[in-house]
Symmetry: C2
Subunit: 160 residues, 2 copies
């Protein structure tokens, strides 16, 4: 049985995200999981996700880091509360700031692995650092400040 | 006659970018222009470019800011060299770092305007600050450090 990704626990009404929503048929549908203290996501870019020939588009890298980090933020907050991810009320995070450093051109012909580490969990804020690995090399590093979606923006059926 | 966008001057072999390449039929094909000392780009998100319902996906915002800023960097470098954008050799920039602060939820039902300002032109590096306006409000701010594509990565027919 395949284990569930962080994003698979998002309430249906909050699963339309272009980057990671399981109900967005046009989107990337990235999936994130714990691997010990790190979170991991693997995404294989499409041939048209190009910047210059052979190199992955930086906006795609930013998008994967973004969604992987908000997913990691939610998972980290459940952990901090000693709660399973299928317990109510659901936790969903959005991005307050996104910072990506592009260290090397990222090759387009291989899977991209993003590995995240939780730097801080404080109140409604979670900070996630990440690195993107392609072809065995760290090609980009990211830092996302994620904030918990306010209750009034959560769908009615997901509130307690 | 419609004026040409910054991206329309990119060499054909470097016009495959998912964000702004005129030859990427799957991409966003954003277009940037000067408006005095500012550069401007208007993009209308597709209905599926959503984060949570009614709100624009942050990765799309990052992507538009990214490509608008590298386009602005190229245009600024031509200006700094007192050259028209159709003169050889062509200048093309990629992103070294991207920083986006999401200030307000960005509404999905209106055009997004990104306005850039050149903060620094120094050697092969150009720094561009930008703000994204939707529904009359500044919803995000960005800063991109762009670097000129090295000659050895430029297509052979675009080198001098």
């Amino acid at each position: 049985m395949e284990k569930k990704a962080f994003q698979d626990y998002y309430p249906d009404d909050l699963s339309c995200c272009y980057g990671c929503g399981k109900h967005n048929e046009h989107g990337l549908q990235i999936k994130s999981y714990w691997d010990g203290d790190e979170s991991v996501c693997v995404y294989t870019p499409r041939p048209y996700h190009t910047a210059i020939p052979g190199i992955v588009y930086g906006g795609l890298i930013a998008s994967i880091i973004d969604c992987h980090s908000t997913g990691t933020a939610a998972a980290a907050k459940y952990r901090a509360e000693n709660r399973a991810m299928d317990t109510m009320p659901p936790l969903r995070f959005v991005t307050a700031s996104l910072n990506v450093n592009y260290l090397l051109p990222t090759p387009l012909d291989c899977p991209l692995e993003v590995r995240g580490r939780v730097k801080e969990v404080k109140g409604r804020k979670v900070v996630v650092e990440s690195r993107l690995i392609a072809g065995g090399k760290v090609c980009a590093r990211g830092e996302v400040v994620a904030v918990q979606v306010p209750e009034h923006m959560m769908p009615v059926n997901a509130r307690q």
